[in-house]
Symmetry: C2
Subunit: 449 residues, 2 copies
């Protein structure tokens, strides 16, 4: 039986579009076709076959090849014709980029899935799939490829997926694969979860969902996945009006939010509020161990942001760790003037040595389950090179999670240049780091580890 594997790991791919057709309202256009071809040529490591339905000579190239995946970029009826041709030819999987399919047209695809050994992603997927390992990239964003990493993203919406893709590229979030589901006539959340569960390149799965069909199967599958890999989800269509919109957007029944929320909890899926929090939590889960208790130490070179951090820790259901007397005494003896009550304000002149020592003492304290480090550059004497020592110290205590906050704009950017590829997750505000710690805590509860 065919498998969604061919959506991500084909050896040969046929790209089917038109160099002339342009829908008045819709995605079919020479521009889109050209850009998908460009991206595939630039990144894909397998063989590419290009079929321009307006060029007889190019059309002929289809014969004599063995494409496992076809990417179809045409208006609904022409897309269906080409899909049929592919199914007959023995293609294993289809990515249907364009939208605007009516119900009876979607039904034809459902029928095809039943009649042939073929899997179908879409229609209305808009962006299709990305696999950073083999360079498969069916998006029409010319020259856009996220950095390699272990976060997989499943998005029902092309627009939301594009936003996550853009975010991942711009902020250098390491990604294994992207899948944009669109109308979900065949391949759905369950299929993709099953695939990512066994994908060695994927450690964390991010979901953007508007609705889910076959809820019981979804919950069962998710339960299996979360034993090995955390799943994070953002739900669109939470309010009544938005839910109505989701129905016409991707033909999803959104359902009541409380029911949905309970289902996600039951499945062990960690629900987050927005797309930034989704990737922020994924970064933490992909880089740090679960948080095994509620007690957080805050180690900072600035006072005010540490207070905001303490508020954020409490607001996210965590606690400020009560440092042991011996830890406090050692810190205060070494650094007169430093108040070692948690949050530990190391004062703005703290550099690598003071950070490393205090962090080491705090991580060794059995009253501490995890740490938020705040190392601002502005208004302090801290420099990006000091941050390397922070990352190194964290690595030695890999049992307890640590998140890092170079709060601000340029400060975040500079530390990210130094530590972006390290195992230390970075956040530009303490509130975001606290939400990441919450996700690490929730995952520890899910796995009971």
């Amino acid at each position: 039986m065919s498998s969604v594997k061919y959506l991500f790991e084909p050896k040969q791919v046929v790209l089917i579009g038109s160099s002339k057709l342009r829908e008045k309202v819709g995605m079919t256009s020479p521009h889109l076709f050209t850009n998908v071809v460009y991206n595939m040529r630039k990144y894909f490591k397998g063989k590419i076959i290009i079929v321009d339905i307006n060029e007889k000579t190019l059309k002929d190239r289809f014969e004599g090849t063995k494409p496992e995946l076809a990417v179809i970029m045409l208006p609904p009826n022409l897309s269906l014709q080409q899909a049929q041709k592919c199914a007959d030819y023995g293609v294993k999987a289809l990515v249907m980029i364009t939208g605007g399919f009516k119900n009876h047209q979607r039904q034809q695809l459902v029928q095809m899935r039943g009649d042939y050994d073929i899997r179908i992603l879409g229609p209305n997927t808009i962006m299709g799939v990305v696999n950073t390992a083999n360079g498969l990239n069916t998006t029409f964003e010319r020259g856009l490829m996220p950095p390699k990493g272990n976060i997989a993203v499943i998005s029902q919406s092309g627009g939301v997926g594009a936003c996550l893709l853009d975010w991942a590229c711009f902020y250098e979030v390491g990604v294994s694969k992207f899948a944009f589901m669109g109308d979900k006539v065949d391949v759905n959340d369950v299929d993709l979860l099953e695939y990512f569960n066994q994908d060695p390149k994927t450690k964390v799965v991010c979901l953007y969902m508007e609705g889910v069909e076959n809820g019981r199967k979804f919950i069962e599958t998710a339960k299996t996945v979360v034993e090995k890999k955390p799943i994070l989800a953002v739900k669109g269509g939470v309010t009544k009006e938005a839910a109505q919109r989701a129905l016409s957007h991707t033909a999803s029944m959104a359902g009541k939010d409380e029911v949905f929320d309970a289902a996600l909890r039951k499945a062990g899926i960690i629900r987050v509020e927005d797309l930034e929090e989704l990737l922020n939590a994924a970064i933490a889960l992909s880089k740090q161990p679960p948080l095994k208790g509620d007690n957080i130490a805050i180690v900072s070179n600035v006072g005010g942001p540490a207070i905001l951090a303490a508020d954020a820790v409490a607001k996210n259901g965590l606690k400020l760790a009560r440092l042991s007397e011996s830890t406090k005494k050692e810190i205060e003896t070494r650094y007169p003037g430093v108040d070692a009550s948690n949050p530990v304000d190391m004062i703005a002149d703290a550099k690598a040595e003071r950070f490393a020592t205090v962090l080491r003492l705090v991580l060794a304290d059995s009253n501490v389950d995890g740490v938020m480090v705040i190392n601002m550059l502005k208004s302090t004497f801290f420099e990006p090179k000091d941050a390397l020592v922070v990352a190194k110290t964290v690595k030695k205590f890999s049992g307890k999670p640590v998140v890092d906050v170079p709060a601000g704009g340029e400060d975040y950017n500079r530390i990210h240049k130094t530590l972006g590829k390290s195992s230390l997750p970075l956040y530009n505000l303490p509130e975001k780091a606290a939400r990441a710690l919450k996700a690490l805590r929730l995952y520890a509860k899910v796995t009971k580890k």
Copy 2:
């Protein structure tokens, strides 16, 4: 009587530090002193007098000059000596950069304020003041100056202020003035609010507060200010543990959060959750009119993000506007395939013409009080130059606020390069834009306009 005016608008400034002294734990250092001198020389349009307490020749320069403001960067006792000297000499205002003052040392400053015609900012202000109009910049962040604009920032904490300053510089948020209050022995929130109330360069005031003394006076003053200018606030020390920390941080009594919250509401101050929301709301209030009703139209070239936007609008106490039949009909007739139920999904091939037409129709609809535009670049045919038309259309309907969401990383960045200086506020996620609309709505309620 001396006035806080001299903190921001001095004609001559004396910078007092040491080229040799370095505290073991603390901010006094040649590095800090050199950088403040560097910034003042680079930006300040008035006269600068430099007093290095280790250099007799330089010390003499103090005599024969008329500094209105002194910036003191020394350990507590030496700072107090120099402050006394300045007071005797007739200096009108002091910025006390360094911290670590004990209670009796703070008392000496309080006494000085009583005995002389002088105003004192700090101690422990760390960064002092910034005035983008005359180039006054007492921060030690070498070469850092926010762009000119009409947002004033008052921060009790140096670190939080530095984070806001860094954010403003990096994301190009237009600022009139910054004031870092520190320990507040004299100049406090009330003084600064009164000053910003009459400052023609300031349209919006942002506050980071840990506590407030003289609450009644603060509320009265704020009430007067908000009639003309919105005040936004973030409160640190909301939770019990963090509040305790705030006490030792800036000697503030944080008080119960509910009491504080009620007081802010009474004063007409708009409270926000974090520093990003603070500046985001300030940008909206500085660029767009208040939101006179709850009804928001969402106009988007992507489906999923528009659904998230609809959720966010509802979560922030606003409503999805019910577009009039004539508006819907006109949109759907012009653009077959577009569903004009709010949120209006204009489909991913929408460019300037479709955006301008739909935006014009929606803004003219009396059922609409404000608009959130979503114009992503990724997964669409929209280009930054199309955004210029959006900004132009918005300008024609200045009575209703519009916020713009180029959702994502690079997308936001590219549109910001095109529209950052326009009157259209930009946000990288719909949730952030919805919170900005909420602030515009709250301000309309405060002013009953």
